[in-house]
């Protein structure tokens, strides 16, 4: 974007000014593909796709969830845009087990609430389970340890636990260990509710309420509380939309992937509208036949995030086809209204991502260096909240990407460096009807879209730092060198 170019121009000037006497000798270097893409991918261009998502949702019951007419329209828009831009467009169909909620209630005396069951937690029988409510005192890590329940009657109880401080699975296990029959979590901030517990360890039903609903129960300690959670699985067909450049090596492909759906309760303009919009606009501006060394493939995954079409896609590829993938750039929501600048922790420096495929650290560095060049501080993200990338990491494919943050609470330190409001979730409207065109921080989106453009442009030219494959001109030079000096094999090391 234009202001980024001015920042880069200033950087060039600074470089030029440093070595005395060489200023006039600095050639007018042509901008690199990465720089050109940063320039071409404009906020206006990205915003136009956000507009399309909003209008599609407005015309189709307020959402774009898969499966629904709104999602179909979203995919048609993406396909048509990719085709117009000259991409080779294909469609990959798959079937997944969609979870349909039959009933999900928490009833405590006169209060009846509808929680969101945690993924991986067991269902109740018809009629649910009933016990006195054990309200765990709220602190920064409520219910993470058994001592938090001191003085509470927990045997046969329904535990009410505030979010935060440790994993849902840990809180659930602590409650179960004390004899609780169900756990009801409530959010620590306005924003989306929902989460995952480890299905292998989950033996009691767990469901989650919003912060306002949670507040309706915190005064009901001891009140007989019924929790009923029942779901069933429905085999559902969806598809991934794939667009690939007609140019570049097909055996060293840069793959970008994003979701483009919303949940049924939201138009999803930030989640997953902002990431889909930035990815689509980048594809448009790259074009179907760019001068690149490596082909670029854009994947718009079908199904909802927990059942991402990424896994079925990767499963559909042969080993050779997987080796053709130089890397996976996962594009998570980029425009969170109270967001920040996270970069996937490719070198596991924060110690939470676990061992990462070789090359992931370099992807992280490329993104961080770009952000640093435009004066933006980043933080490593152990998870980017999307779930697509795990499949690629498991397959040993170098993985990275930018992210603006979604459910977690912005810390005072983050607010100091990124602006925004400390103590509030990065996207307070996540999964809610208010995730609309007004729910976008366009400065954050603009910078994240620039970062995505930069990293894509960089690796479309050379993935040498990630996997050792040099750019074409260097390969050509090497070939020429080899043909000229057939005797000096050692020249290959040059």
């Amino acid at each position: 974007m234009s202001r980024v170019r001015s920042a880069m121009a200033m950087a060039v000037i600074a470089v030029a000014a440093l070595p005395m006497g060489t200023a006039h000798a600095v050639p007018q270097t042509k901008p690199t593909l990465a720089e050109k893409l940063v320039e071409r991918v404009t906020l206006d261009g990205v915003n136009r796709h956000l507009l399309a998502w909003q209008r599609i949702a407005d015309r189709n019951g307020g959402h774009r969830a898969d499966p629904s007419p709104g999602f179909t329209k979203t995919q048609e828009y993406i396909e048509s845009t990719l085709r117009t831009a000259g991409f080779e467009v294909s469609s990959h169909e798959f079937t997944y087990d969609r979870v349909v909620i039959d009933k999900s209630v928490v009833v405590a005396g006169p209060v009846s609430l509808a929680p969101n069951p945690l993924i991986g937690s067991p269902d109740t029988a018809v009629g649910g389970v009933t016990g006195p409510l054990a309200v765990v005192p709220a602190d920064a890590d409520s219910g993470c340890q058994a001592t938090d329940y001191a003085g509470l009657n927990t045997v046969g109880a329904v535990a009410l636990v505030k979010r935060g401080g440790c994993a849902y699975t840990q809180k659930m296990l602590v409650a179960e260990g004390l004899g609780a029959i169900a756990v009801v979590f409530y959010n620590h901030s306005v924003g989306a509710v929902g989460g995952v517990v480890d299905a292998a360890q989950a033996r009691i039903p767990s469901a989650m309420l919003g912060s306002a609903d949670g507040a309706k129960l915190t005064g009901s300690s001891g009140v007989s509380t019924n929790v009923e959670v029942r779901r069933h699985v429905e085999a559902t067909t969806s598809r991934n939309v794939i667009g690939q450049t007609r140019t570049g090596r097909k055996d060293n492909v840069i793959l970008l992937g994003t979701h483009s759906d919303s949940v049924t309760t939201s138009p999803g303009v930030n989640d997953n509208g902002s990431n889909a919009a930035a990815t689509l606009e980048l594809a448009r501006k790259l074009g179907g036949s760019p001068r690149v060394n490596n082909a670029v493939r854009f994947a718009f995954w079908g199904a909802d995030v927990p059942h991402s079409g990424a896994a079925p896609y990767l499963n559909s590829l042969s080993d050779e086809q997987r080796l053709d993938l130089a890397m996976y750039l996962d594009v998570a929501p980029l425009g969170s209204p109270n967001g920040g600048h996270f970069v996937f922790d490719g070198d596991n420096s924060a110690g939470q991502a676990g061992a990462m495929p070789h090359g992931s650290a370099q992807i992280e560095k490329t993104l961080v260096d770009f952000m640093t060049s435009i004066g933006v501080q980043t933080e490593p993200a152990p998870v980017v909240g999307q779930g697509n990338y795990a499949t690629f990491i498991a397959a040993g494919i170098p993985t990275g990407g930018p992210f603006a943050g979604i459910p977690h609470i912005k810390t005072p330190a983050q607010a100091a460096k990124w602006g925004g409001t400390a103590g509030l979730a990065f996207d307070p409207c996540n999964l809610a009807p208010c995730d609309n065109l007004g729910n976008i921080n366009r400065d954050i989106l603009s910078r994240n879209a620039d970062a995505l453009a930069f990293v894509t442009g960089t690796y479309a030219m050379s993935t040498e730092d990630v996997n050792g494959i040099p750019p074409r001109d260097r390969r050509a030079a090497t070939r020429v060198a080899k043909s000229l000096t057939p005797a000096t094999v050692a020249g290959e090391n040059a």
Partner: protein, 490 residues
């Protein structure tokens, strides 16, 4: 919605009163905005010039400007000539629509015949009509809404006063009581037109004007023959589109007014008022204004039943529809006994359903302007369900506008705050011959034209509040700051 707006208006007034010094520099800066310049330059004299021209066109063409007619052609030529002379990028879209042609619309009792309007969704009568004794349903608050309202009605033509329940309920109750046809007469002067649920209505149903209702009541007991038949005829029509030659063409502000009158009416309020206000706004803005976003003015052909905007939108690609930032409806804004209504964009009335994102902001822009000049407003759901406006909503395009009322009666409370006469329709000459120049309330028209000029000027400058598309220069500046100190927006 309304309460909060009034609250805001009150707060502004309080601020002005307490610290006038603080507001002065801002007010001075305001004077320089495009919106304020347009409000100043769009005058009632300028609008009246076009109204006079359109009245003269009706006068020399049999008293109306309906589609299709020589009066409409002349109206089209007048507006087209004006915008072409002003240098706009003008295009004419030709389309064909199904025009309803009336074969029979009569109620005959003895030697007296009145002309009803068949309600949309009502079945036709056979040729020659249906005949039965004319029975007047006793008047109460819910006349003819319950089957028990009808006494000895089998085989009769039921004459029912408007009001108290939907037309479909009256029609169903009349049919259950055995009536062979139902006539619903207006509870105020002027015609009664409406729509029925065709799946529930089994007998012919027509609306009768308040005046004709009185005529028929006097003939109660006589043998009445109701003949209602019409057919659709493919009809050629045109939309006139004029766009500024400046401003971005991928974020266009569209304002639209339907050009036609109803048959047998010069249509000065409905809709020469909108046509003229919009034309004057276009001429004062000019074809090369200094705007961020291009402005496109549309004058729709077709009729109220088959609006030209539907055909226009159908002719656009997905990308061309995305190029439209928003739609402003300019319809019926000079009602003689009118009020100040703003289209409900945020569904705060609960009667319009979910509206495209941005419509609430447009509503606020209109209400904010009118409230700011001391005029209380009310919300209306008129237009959301049918007419030119509805097709933009159906496309997900943010929409809004003002409206001064048509057939409904002004309440005491409305007369108290807006002036005018309580208990009388906002627009007494609705679709009638008397909808002439003399029927207009020029004060109301002037203020509505100002509101449209203001809102058009605001959005021609930036649509940031509805779709995030800021004025480019402003965003560049904000962006430049943002690099130095990340995150300037919350």
């Amino acid at each position: 919605m309304r309460a909060s707006r009034l609250g805001v208006a009150a707060a502004v007034i309080a601020t002005v009163a307490v610290i006038p010094a603080a507001i002065t520099p801002a007010a001075q800066a305001e004077r320089g905005t495009l919106a304020d310049r347009l409000v100043r330059s769009v005058t009632i004299e300028g609008i009246n010039h076009h109204l006079t021209a359109l009245q003269a066109i009706a006068d020399r063409n049999g008293g109306s400007r309906d589609d299709p007619s020589p009066g409409l052609q002349e109206s089209f030529a007048y507006v087209e000539g004006q915008v072409r002379a002003a240098g706009f990028d003008v295009s004419v879209q030709e389309f064909t629509y199904d025009r309803r042609v009336i074969d029979a619309a009569t109620v005959t009792v003895g030697s007296t015949t009145v002309v009803p309007i068949r309600m949309g969704g009502s079945p036709f009568t056979p040729v020659g009509g249906v005949t039965g004794p004319l029975k007047v349903v006793p008047i109460d608050a819910t006349t003819g809404c319950e089957v028990t309202d009808y006494v000895d009605a089998a085989g009769s033509v039921a004459l029912i006063r408007r009001g108290g329940c939907p037309f479909t309920i009256k029609a169903k109750s009349a049919a259950q009581a055995g009536a062979v046809a139902a006539l619903i007469y207006n509870n105020s002067p002027g015609p009664a037109r409406g729509d029925l649920d065709p799946t529930q209505v089994t007998i012919p149903v027509a609306g009768v004007s308040g005046e004709d209702g009185a005529v028929l009541i006097a003939l109660a007991g006589g043998s009445a023959t109701v003949d209602l038949r019409d057919h659709d005829e493919p009809t050629l029509s045109h939309n006139l589109i004029a766009q500024t030659r400046s401003g971005r063409t991928d974020n266009v502000i569209v304002a639209g007014a339907h050009l036609d009158s109803s048959p047998d009416s010069p249509g000065m309020n409905e809709n020469a008022s909108g046509v003229s206000a919009q034309l004057e706004l276009a001429l004062r803005m000019g074809s090369h204004p200094k705007v961020e976003n291009a402005v496109r003015f549309a004058w729709w052909g077709g009729t109220g039943d088959s609006a030209g905007s539907d055909d226009y939108l159908a002719s656009l690609t997905t990308g061309q529809k995305l190029d439209i930032a928003l739609y402003l409806a300019v319809e019926a804004i000079g009602s003689s006994n009118g009020g100040y209504f703003v289209y409900d964009g945020d569904n705060s009335t609960g009667t319009v359903g979910p509206m495209p994102y941005g419509s609430g902001q447009i509503e606020q822009a209109f209400a904010g302007y009118l409230n700011g000049v001391g005029i209380p407003t009310e919300e209306t759901n008129i237009g959301q369900a049918r007419g030119e406006y509805s097709f933009f909503i159906a496309e997900g395009i943010p929409s809004g506008g003002t409206y001064t009322g048509l057939q409904f009666l002004k309440t005491e409370a409305q007369a108290a705050k807006w002036g005018g006469t309580a208990g009388v329709a906002y627009h007494q000459c609705y679709d009638a011959r008397c909808d002439t120049l003399g029927n207009l309330n020029l004060g109301i028209l002037d203020r509505n034209a100002d509101a449209i000029a203001h809102v058009t000027g605001v959005y021609a400058t930036s649509t940031d509040d509805i779709d995030g598309r800021a004025q480019r220069a402003a965003h560049r500046t904000a962006g430049a700051h943002a690099v130095a100190a990340p995150v300037t927006r919350e």
